[in-house]
Amino acid sequence: MTKARDLTTLFATLFLFWLLLNGSLAPDVLAIGLVVALLIAILFRGSLAVLSEFRATPLAIVTAVGYLIYFLKALLQSNLQLARIVLSPSLPLTPGIVKVRTRLQSRMGRMLLANSITLTPGTLTVELNGEWLYIHWVTVESADIEAATASIVSGFERYIEVMYG
C-alpha cells in the first residue's frame, strides 16, 4: 500500500463524510470541504488506519457485510442476555477475567476484534498485550486459554482475518 494511495483514500472518505453531513453541493461548502479534508489527510495520514489498512478486495467487502450481520446479531443477543441477568432477582453472575489469544496481526484487526468482543454477550476487553487479550466475562464458562479463545474470539476472527489480516 503506497503513501499516495493512503492519502487519496483518506481524503476521499473525509470529503464524502463532509458531503453527507452537509447535504449540500453549494460551491462554498465544496471549497471548504476540499481544503479541510486535504489538510486532515496530509496531517493524519499515518494515524487513520481504519481505512488505509482495509484490504479493498471484493471478498473483503462481502466479508465486511457478513461481519456486520454477525456483529449485530451478537449485539442483540448480548443485550437479551444482559436483560435476563439484570431482571432475575438472584443476579446469576460468575464473573472473572480470562486470557485469550488472537491470530490477527494488524493493529486495525486487533482493534476491531477488541471492540467486537466488548459488544458481544457477557464479554469486555480489559487489556491488550500483543497477541494476548484479557477479557472480563460475566459468566465464565472456562478459564482455559484454548477453550475461552474458541468461544470468544473465533467467531469474529474468521471475518476480520479476511478484512484486515
Partner: protein
Amino acid sequence: MDSLLNLLGGLLLVAGASFLFLGGLGLVRMPDVFNRIQAGTKATTLGTLLGLAGFACLRPEWGLKLLLIGLVTLFTNPISSQVLARAAHRTRVEMTLNTTVDRLAEDTGEEA
C-alpha cells in the same frame, strides 16, 4: 406508507428506550465496576442504535446523518469502555467476591 413508517419508528424508539432502561438498571444492580461497565456498554450501544433507527423512520431526510452518528457510536462506545475497564484494573479497583478467576492480575503480578 407514512403511517407505517411512523409506527415502525415509534416501536424502534420504544425498544431502544427499553434497552437503555435495562442498562440503567444494570448499573444499579451489578456488583462491581467491571460488571457495571458491561451492562452500560452493551445497552447504550444497542439502545442508541435502535433510537437512531427510529428517528430515521420518522425523519427519513435525516437518514445519512443518523447513519454517521450510529457509526461513531459503534466505534467509540466500546473503546471508552475498554479504557475505563483497563484504568479500573490498573488502579486495582476491587472485584466482586464471587469473581472466579483473574488472569490479568496473575500475569502482571499485581496480586499474590
